[in-house]
Symmetry: D2
Subunit: 337 residues, 4 copies
Amino acid sequence: MSDKLRIGIIGGGRIGRVHAINLNRVAGVDVRILADPFANADLEAFCQEQNIPSVTKDYKEILADSEIDAVLICSPTDTHASITREAAKAGKHIFCEKPLDPEPDVIRETLEVVREAGVVFQIGFNRRFDHNFRGIRQVVDQGKVGDVHVVKITSRDPEPPNPEYVAVSGGLFMDMAIHDFDMARYLAGSEVERVHAAGAVLVDPAIGEAGDIDTAVVTLWFANGALGVIDNSRKAAYGYDQRAEVFGSAGAASSENDGASTVRISGADGVVAEKPLYFFLERYAESFAQEMREFAEAVRTGTAAPCGPNDALQSVLIARAAKESLQTGRPVAVERA
Amino acid sequence: MSDKLRIGIIGGGRIGRVHAINLNRVAGVDVRILADPFANADLEAFCQEQNIPSVTKDYKEILADSEIDAVLICSPTDTHASITREAAKAGKHIFCEKPLDPEPDVIRETLEVVREAGVVFQIGFNRRFDHNFRGIRQVVDQGKVGDVHVVKITSRDPEPPNPEYVAVSGGLFMDMAIHDFDMARYLAGSEVERVHAAGAVLVDPAIGEAGDIDTAVVTLWFANGALGVIDNSRKAAYGYDQRAEVFGSAGAASSENDGASTVRISGADGVVAEKPLYFFLERYAESFAQEMREFAEAVRTGTAAPCGPNDALQSVLIARAAKESLQTGRPVAVERA
Amino acid sequence: MSDKLRIGIIGGGRIGRVHAINLNRVAGVDVRILADPFANADLEAFCQEQNIPSVTKDYKEILADSEIDAVLICSPTDTHASITREAAKAGKHIFCEKPLDPEPDVIRETLEVVREAGVVFQIGFNRRFDHNFRGIRQVVDQGKVGDVHVVKITSRDPEPPNPEYVAVSGGLFMDMAIHDFDMARYLAGSEVERVHAAGAVLVDPAIGEAGDIDTAVVTLWFANGALGVIDNSRKAAYGYDQRAEVFGSAGAASSENDGASTVRISGADGVVAEKPLYFFLERYAESFAQEMREFAEAVRTGTAAPCGPNDALQSVLIARAAKESLQTGRPVAVERA
Amino acid sequence: MSDKLRIGIIGGGRIGRVHAINLNRVAGVDVRILADPFANADLEAFCQEQNIPSVTKDYKEILADSEIDAVLICSPTDTHASITREAAKAGKHIFCEKPLDPEPDVIRETLEVVREAGVVFQIGFNRRFDHNFRGIRQVVDQGKVGDVHVVKITSRDPEPPNPEYVAVSGGLFMDMAIHDFDMARYLAGSEVERVHAAGAVLVDPAIGEAGDIDTAVVTLWFANGALGVIDNSRKAAYGYDQRAEVFGSAGAASSENDGASTVRISGADGVVAEKPLYFFLERYAESFAQEMREFAEAVRTGTAAPCGPNDALQSVLIARAAKESLQTGRPVAVERA
């Protein structure tokens, strides 16, 4: 590896661009090329502004370039696994957006290729890099909550996706709650063994017609004996509601939402504070930046990624168990990794 | 009825005394007599201090006294139903501590006697009179959260009961969570149709040996389509944790714990606020007083009690369904009232 | 003294009645008589409801009654000093509403009579008994803020008094801020040596026409070297704003307002919490009760009152210095006690 | 001006580097050169990392370069005025760190040169760009607090400067509180007409020996009739305390400190939240970035800077009046601009 870590980004959509901007602020990193089959003038202007020297329509060009150390896979979900395998075989370190694939066996095979290639593999659960959730985790690690008894997560979006998207999204558990399943494992410091899911269509009947739910309450049983509960909604009128709590034998650690400011207005109708930041790009802006810093660090030092192969698999296994529980009405054991 | 409402209290234990003290502060109410089979000098001193003119060992004396308008039944749980029936037949208005009985059929028969007697019957779910929970309910009634989608309740005790008590308590759901089941119905404005319960023994192995759990996560399905979730623990190191949230189509209303003061100490280790008030006597002191005021008001005006016969039955039905769900590992339908 | 402490109340207005109700809840206390020159059917009904056996138009009847141990002086301010002297000479322990008198020399002479009589004398600065302010003081006493550097008090009323009252009130400093001057001494644990006051008429021009101000910022210099600052307003649109902060070498302790509940409503316009409790009767309800408990305790145990003669004098001296500073535009030394 | 705004930075110390990094993230801006008389390998490495192509020891080189559109003056305070004049005469738009100069007449003459040159001039009161303080200002502008009655600012540093620095700093008012004086004007929307300052040496006797104070309470009279109060300390044990409140006829808007996260730990000793962010580089990181975005925008659009010439002068005039008030013990009128 040269002095600087040379990175190629595969996929120039919203999240690919966010990563590009953030990587530009990481010392010792050079984003050299961005690949997107729909590369156009707009993408070229973006790359120019961000000092990314090359744009290509063919990601294989990146994989073939021996000067590239690592790739970011920000392409559509159904290409994640195959590109990951190709990149691993080409010896590139990999950051891949979640999920790696909806099918556990595809994930397993892909991770086996990664393992054989000996490259760093990081999966894009950015919330692990968030100041609030990581803050809770640190408190747990310091022993301040004692043994973990209950993990609670509230995760609500400000607006539902449109029904067309819902139909192809894989459903609330695979598309939205998968972040919360990973967070539950992260906060509990333990794997999920069993899941019970209750769901309802309360936000938009069109979501139900598309075969999905928009509201859920999920119970988790962890290997360490703790219980977990997640509640999800596709629409919170007040914005993006992202809170967590870990309760244990010595106390509890919890986090509140972030607002745009700490300003409170005291008036005749009460004391009004800011709503939560609108959605994930605002709320998790700093976590995306930190995610890139730690990926670069893992590659540079040759250490394991902070969110790695097992995390890519487990969250999908839990999402599938939740879906089955919703359909059968019973608790479902999470498949062994 | 004379100018003043004349009340007899059956049971001179902790809660009976709390009610006596509070009733003494309600205008237009006269506590005339207190009955307890173990009445002793200590109880007599209490009554003297509270200006309660008579003490007896036999509650039947109260029921036979035509000058008594209403009774408070604060005796042991296994006597609630029979004394309620006797009191109703004697034409006394009734306030009865929860639960009326653990057996639904006994409750049904007792309530039928009450109905025939035409007396006011109030069951002791004091939390409905709490400023925080009632505050949430008022916000819901004002339509500020829109249609209810999710009701969340956190209910944790500061210390577990001793194992001897646990063995005869009827279990966490009947003994402790029954308050939360009533609260869930109150906040949702809807009956619970189905329950799923997960439980664990994490606080004290002796509780498990006594055949009970000390930690629980309960999912509720309401008749109006909403979902609910309750998490319980027998021991929170920081005190009595009593919070609720109602989330709906237009927003959410939530409450925090009450502390002894609003004081915050900013120091080198952080900004420290007060713990929650220690336990129910401190936390719900004002709700117990309000409960008595509203019982007196219902009797005086001949209106329905704010927490009545159906509430006495439903909470027990939900507790039983939760227990069955825990044992079978499946969701259980709540028996019809 | 008999078994019970026998109390007579002089003045049956709002505050006299509040004390009567609270004393009725203090064990070992008997309110025996209430005197008011305007005693009427309404006051008699109040006394009957509160089990106060006698009502009289002449407070001298109370002073002459050898069975009365202590008196509460809740009559108009201009009678406080003379009745205090009479009561002291009659050997009654005294609780007197603030201020004892606006004139320092009258206060000094009166306190000398009290001293000679050897009776307990407590002045009615009820806020010292408030859970929030006392909470701050306890933190200071525990050394958690270290040496006191700055004491800050915000004190705003929800509504201004009417201009007629303003004209005879003695002005904002003597009538309203006097509580804050006492609080500043209480929190700093030190006497005030010098004062600078800035004032403005911003709430209501009629207040200015009556010769008073409605908005003030007062700087205090304490004997222990600390500085203090108080800001006052006669009208806060959101209710009664009562906060304090003590900042020192090791940290800070501060208190927030109390609301009717902890309920927060999250909606499209923000997260709305309760306003402060409306005014002093709601906000300081519990402090008035505690004030009576501690007065009764001081009398019963023959110990010094928790808020005594020096407190009655110092607050008036500070108020006068503040008034002079406002008029002269310069800092003014507080007269020696 | 070319497509991109070409900027030269004068002064490569801490704040110069912060601005360089932030400007690198502003679209349409090119930092072309950095001048520092002590330019060394470390500074060159910094410039290389930030893609700043040139480094020089002589700032005059920047002023002589016709390709440079604007300069940032981040050199020592005693050079601000002279470099500003030179830059203005060279036709460069100017961002200058505060204060422009401690002497009002020097400021006036310098601003006159700027005015004649017709260049944009922005002074570095970065806190105006802070989300919390700007949030308060927006609430005031929206009329939600009505007419402004009182502006309150708390401003405390986490650690005092060393006594050597104190001796040459110009004193607490000119060095530290000058930010608060500007903030008071910004929040009140009005000029300060008169000042009263109280001060004390409570943090470190060495500060007193150096002829300065470390603790202050300042009263302000605004032209619009409002009052203001600022309290300062050179050392808060819990970190950087930066809060403000605007109180008015319709309500109040206030801001709290920012912490590193919203995490709260509930344990046996209370509920612990994060301390404030440590110092200005952490606390105001985003305000420094926004300050650069708005400077670039003002230059690009040829509009007035958001914090301009009058702001540079007024804050110094207030600081001088505060110093005189402290020395004379009397309120002092702020010199006319």
